[in-house]
Amino acid sequence: MDGATFQALIEGLLSTLNVTTLLLMSAGIVAGFVIGILPGLGGTAALALMLPFTFAMDPVSAFALLLGMLASSTTASDLTSVVLGVPGDAVSTALVLDGYGMSKRGQGGRAIGAVLTSSMLGALAGAFVLAIAVPVVRPIVLAMGSPELFAVTLLGITTVGAVVSGAPIKGLILAAFGVMLSTVGQDPQTGVMRYTFGEPELWGGLGLVPVTIGMFALPEIFDMAVRNTSVAGTAADRIDSVMAGVRDTFRHWWLVLRSAVIAIFIGLLPGLGGSVAQWVSYGHAVQGAKDKDLVGKGAIEGVIGPGTASNAKDGASLIPTVAFGVPGSVSMAILLGAFLIQGLVPGPSMLTTQLPLTFSFVWVLIFSNIVTVVLCLLVARRLRALTTVSGRVLFAPVMVLLLVASFAEKRSFLDVLIMVGFGVLGWFMMKLDWPRAPFVLGFVLGGLAERYLFISVDRYGMGWVTRPGVILLGGLTVLGLVVPITLRIRAARVRGAAEHQQPPEGERADATDAGGPPASGAGSSREPRGST
């Protein structure tokens, strides 16, 4: 770092430590937390709501308010995913799987501790990269064309489809189904109406929020109320501490680092967005999970990976926004609006004359994430207690939240009905053990995949498949498909053969009663114990 850059770094710090800036940052953190914790109203909604208030502010104060809000709303969204299984924002859906799974197993405190710590570490990593990366990453970002970006989306979809579910074919079917449903609406290239049934409100496609909360939140809260249990269920009597999750995160430092790198890389790529970063990090994290049986049901790796990614991508996605004027996500597009309001021109000037301002973004991200996490840790005990509240108390308020959240995105009552429809679909999938995550990922990535595929074919013909980047990413996709399936088949054969060699049922009864696992599937847990 040369002298001028170091001076700009210090100037950025001093401008951030200004009293007005700190107060506005705090206001942003509080507002972002409140808005972020409401399902459906995530960071994007928070930024859009606050944008008009920045007209009268100087640039440092305006971005302190907006970035502080973005950081805390992201963390708050993550928390609702973990505690209630209701993602505060579509970006946080990946955390529902294992975060909420941990809450259901009475490990809500541990999950909260892990998600808060990992998101803080991820944010620090993202901010650090923002500070040093612009000259380094520029050639890489510019080398990624539409074919490579399509290959990245395909990699994300297939990895999650094949790995997360533990049922690769079902996972891939649902991922493809999600992609197909993402094509509902007007085709941007030809203007053809696809699967709209003549309904004008479907021209814009199916909303992400109604689909996501219908798929994940509605079946869970419905089931909880019917069974009259709490989120933590029968495990409520042994709820653990938040600090266990904090320790877990530091114990998995290598996973935090890898997830941060993945999220930062995806954050750098324009258009991929935060949910992609979370899902790809999730897919990577659960591949290395120690206990594969817990994946999707409460694996700590499945919390730390996406938790790290959720905030790490913010700093990284600022890079293309600031350096090239290309927003990396919807939130960044709104921030780009703030640039224009402030009379700033993204591009080389942000790395030369406006460098102190750019560094003030780094400091705001660092401070706001630390403050948010400390505040959340202080109230974590109360949040954790939510997982012990009866489903019949939560059912009505959460149901109202779901109705509002599904309506709020497009102000359309049809979205409420869509949420109900996907809720029914999600409930059947939950009951039949069909994985819901690949469907949602396919739905999230479908629009992007189509855009990149169209540009690739339009520009390169079929020659796009021979590009080195595409071949490399395609190879990784095939590996991501073949390796988990092969490993599962091998493990099942070994286990099946071992079970075959065990003595008959009657002789095994003692072992089963003594705490050994039942020999066959789910039905075993219902067998009357007296029979042994």
Partner: protein, 171 residues
């Protein structure tokens, strides 16, 4: 029973996919590219899945070790290990709720949606919360607190977040 439900569910998905692919066939190339590029493999996978279900039924009849195809499909994964409580996860959720409980809560959910549609979000939502909590026999302080919180939430959503809820159907 569960196997039959799986087969039926996969068949319904396959049927929807088939209709989507059929409809896409008539569109211009750019519009049908992704629906067909994903739709055709989707249909192939559904067929493979149905075959694996059939293989699973056969191997279950023979009492053999899990077939590779069934494991890949997830219909018979790893000898039931995924559903067994593993170390640290000894919570087995057994679905012991009665069909009546499901029907009642389904009706409540429909009632929520209709009430919100008829009376609007603020009034319909608040009344729904109060009515359900009374039905669920929660203590009065809890009913009052949650009803007030819901009303406050709607007030904040309208006054601060400027969410324009639609007019109620009844007035």
């Amino acid at each position: 029973m569960r196997g039959k439900a799986d087969v039926a569910f996969a068949a319904v998905l396959g049927l929807i996919g088939l209709l989507m692919v059929y409809e896409a066939w008539a569109w211009p190339f750019a519009a049908r590219m992704l629906p067909l590029a994903l739709g055709i493999p989707f249909l192939v996978l559904v067929v493979i899945l149905q075959i694996t279900f059939w293989i699973e039924v056969r191997s279950r009849g023979r009492g053999g070790v899990p077939d590779a195809a069934a494991v890949a499909a997830g219909s018979r994964d790893d000898g039931g290990a995924a559903r067994r409580p593993s170390q640290g996860a000894d919570v087995v959720v057994v679905d012991d709720a009665s069909p009546l409980a499901y029907a009642i809560h389904g009706a409540w959910f429909v009632a929520f949606t209709v009430l919100v549609w008829l009376l609007g979000f603020p009034l319909g939502g608040t009344l729904s919360v109060a009515a359900y909590l009374v039905y669920a026999r929660r203590p009065w302080p809890v009913v009052a607190l949650l009803t007030l919180m819901t009303a406050a939430f709607f007030w904040a959503a309208i006054a601060w977040l400027k969410i324009g809820f639609p007019d109620p159907l009844l007035w």
